[in-house]
């Protein structure tokens, strides 16, 4: 009942936000929602492994992702507040729509993490498309419309793909004798699944969820969306929404992995992951828009995560660790982006530069986030990336490992070239006289997120390790 209650209250808050344009009401309601979200997260942790309202189970994977989402949503709201209040074109209507959509997005994503039935995950994925499109369309100009249109259209097609996958899955399960498509039931009867239908089902479900995960072939939607969405919304899109795509694929992958199709499914995932890395490397070299660069970096990391899944073994553990750490680091980079934009009023790398001079604290955040995102040693992502490489090594994929390392070198080179340009090299024709002063306190949440990622990577608390291990328990070792 608690999940249903949570959903009802959140949707009520969302719709009230949407229709009530009062400033005080808006900000009170959004904080009420955050309090609700925290309370709900605590409740799920206390009721570990229990099933609620038939369709939701508080299992370890769901709890890890829900905790991540809740932690990121707090700074997301803070930065949204700053962003909305400082934006020049703010109207009560755009503020109300923005926060209403954000509440709906966080709620839908949280519910999708916990859902134990593939159709329920699918429903909440649909809702995230709706709410994310409202966030992307925030600026209501031509470019935002173009980005939103592409996002909505590609997501609509990919949602249809997932639905076709579910239909094939039901055909594959025709022998199972029941119409219950929950993951638990599918796992219990995995020997009854018809393999040729299951193959088709996996192809369609995987392709469909790649739009949310940001993987080849449907990654384009996410890149355009993150480019046009406001910074804090882009932070949510590149962290918690990507986790949702991951959960959608991973839970179904567990089912497939317990059938003879394990190697075939890993091959499919591996090919998509490798192509994502390749595409990310190519675009990172060319891209001149800092926000798109960060979005392509997300594509790269999702490629690495799925490579870990494809390699198996320690790779499963590393993949979940990596996606959690990536969520923290990438969201902090997107939060920081708004401060950069405030100073330069531009996101073209040629127009940015000498950031250390104008915003010292912010520049340190960018530098630390860069070190984390490229997985250099003191950062937490180094550990998870290293484990992914180890899993590739252990599964005897040496050629693949070498090519991946080569691509990563290219990506790091491209990333470093642009970041160091922003940090140290003076910008062309930049008018220094009107640089606004940004309070260093606004970078606090970014420090906490990056520090948290380093802590979780280098010295993970035992309970976190246990949760990850428990969520990969059902996979063959």
């Amino acid at each position: 009942m608690i999940v249903v209650l949570y959903l009802i209250v959140s949707i009520l808050i969302g719709t009230t936000l949407f229709f009530n344009r009062g400033k005080a009401v808006n900000y009170t309601l959004i904080w009420v929602f955050i309090a609700l979200q925290c309370a709900f997260t605590v409740y799920t942790c206390m009721n570990y492994n229990k099933t609620d309202s038939t369709y939701f189970t508080f299992d370890s994977l769901g709890i890890i992702m829900l905790l991540t989402a809740t932690i990121i949503s707090i700074p997301a709201v803070i930065h949204s507040h700053i962003y909305i209040e400082e934006s020049e074109e703010k109207t009560p209507r755009s503020r109300a729509t923005y926060f209403g959509a954000m509440v709906l997005l966080i709620t839908a994503v949280s519910a999708a993490y916990l859902a134990n039935h593939i159709a329920v995950v699918w429903i909440f994925t649909e809702i995230t498309t709706l709410s994310a499109s409202a966030l992307i369309y925030h600026h209501r100009n031509k470019l935002a419309l173009e980005g939103t249109w592409k996002y909505v259209f590609i997501c609509a097609i990919s949602i249809t793909f997932v639905f076709i996958g579910i239909l094939f899955l039901s055909l594959s399960f025709a022998k199972g004798g029941s119409d219950d498509l929950s993951y638990k039931n599918l796992l219990a009867h995995s020997s009854l699944l018809n393999l040729s239908w299951l193959r088709l089902a996996f192809l369609f479900i995987f392709t469909g969820f790649t739009a949310k995960l940001g993987l080849f072939p449907m990654f384009t939607a996410g890149v355009d969306a993150k480019d046009k969405a406001p910074g804090p919304a882009a932070a949510l899109l590149s962290s918690i929404v990507m986790c949702m795509g991951f959960v959608g694929i991973f839970r179904f992958y567990i089912v497939v992995a317990n059938t003879p199709l394990l190697h075939w499914a890993s091959l499919v995932i591996g090919i998509a992951a490798f192509l994502s890395l390749f595409i990310a490397a190519v675009y990172m070299i060319k891209v001149k828009n800092i926000k798109r660069m960060m979005a392509y970096s997300s594509v790269e990391h999702m490629g690495l995560v799925m490579l870990g899944i494809a390699a198996g073994g320690i790779g499963y553990y590393a993949a979940i660790l990596h996606i959690v750490l990536h969520s923290f680091v990438k969201s902090s980079l997107f939060f920081q982006y708004n401060q950069i934009y405030r100073i330069y009023k531009n996101k073209n790398i040629y127009q940015l530069g000498n950031y250390f001079k104008y915003n010292n604290t912010g520049a340190i955040v960018v530098l630390l986030a860069f070190i984390s995102v490229t997985a250099m040693p003191p950062s937490g992502m180094f550990v998870s990336e290293f484990l992914i490489f180890r899993s590739l090594f252990e599964s005897n994929q040496l050629v693949l490992l070498l090519v991946v390392l080569l691509l990563l070198t290219l990506i790091i080179w491209a990333f470093a070239k642009n970041i160091f340009k922003i940090l140290f090299i003076p910008a062309v024709n930049f008018d220094e006289s009107k640089v606004p002063v940004v309070s260093p306190w606004r970078s606090l949440s970014q420090f906490i997120l990056i520090g948290g990622a380093a802590y979780l990577g280098l010295n993970p608390p035992l309970i976190f390790v246990d949760l990850i291990k428990d969520s990969i328990l059902l996979l063959p070792h």
């Binding site: 980005g147 076709i164 055909l171 025709a174």
Partner: protein, 210 residues
């Protein structure tokens, strides 16, 4: 009878691939809605009456009346030219559609011990891929939307095939239909028509990487 309807559905795809005018597309979509109405009526025998009425209403009112009327309205309001302007000549389109259908027939023969009438599988998958092909080769945004609607119809055919055992999935399919169509058609096609005067995908190329 069921097979006749499904084959007519398949033929409508061929007709669409060589059609030149936008209004023809709209008419074929409306006709597909009516065909789906009859297919659902014949196929779904073991489903409870209220649910069946809901499904039938969706096909007849939503698919074959509301959406075509709305598409006509958009065509008129935005002064969209009557030609479909495909990137490829109609002859090539026809060949590609044929190849798609033949491939799905071959694919359906590889599926062993099937619980499904293969006709459904062939029609649904060919509709799906033809819709994708339409999206890839047509120039206007509104034809992209029509391609998406074709895909939706294909999905609906497939969901009818499992509809007797799992009526929930048919309902989900209807939800998808209404949700996505309203989102795509209602909100954005209208807006795009306001902002970009001649709605052509070539205008949607400003989000670039360099």
């Amino acid at each position: 009878m069921l097979h006749v309807l499904l084959i007519v559905f398949l033929i409508s795809l061929f007709y669409m691939s060589i059609a030149n005018r936008m209004t023809t597309y709209v008419n074929v979509l409306a006709m597909q809605g009516i065909l789906l109405f009859f297919i659902a009526f014949i196929e779904l025998k073991h489903i409870n009456t209220v649910n069946l009425i809901l499904i039938l209403l969706e096909t007849i009112i939503f698919k074959s009346v509301a959406v075509p009327v709305f598409l006509r309205y958009v065509l008129k309001r935005n002064h969209i030219t009557r030609e479909a302007e495909p990137y490829l000549p109609n002859f090539v389109s026809l060949i590609i559609t044929t190849v798609i259908v033949v491939t799905t027939i071959l694919l359906s023969n590889t599926m062993e011990e099937s619980y499904l009438d293969k006709m459904y599988f062939v029609v649904a998958l060919s509709t799906l891929f033809t819709g994708l092909y339409f999206i890839a080769t047509r120039r206007k945004i509104i034809t992209h939307v029509m391609g998406y609607l074709i895909i939706e119809n294909g999905v609906f055919v497939l969901s009818l095939a499992v509809g007797n055992e799992m009526p929930m999935l048919v309902n989900l399919g209807i939800m998808l239909d209404i949700f996505a169509s309203v989102l795509i058609l209602g909100v954005f096609l209208n807006k795009i028509g306001d902002v970009f005067k001649d709605i052509d995908v070539n205008q949607l190329t400003n989000l670039k990487d360099y």
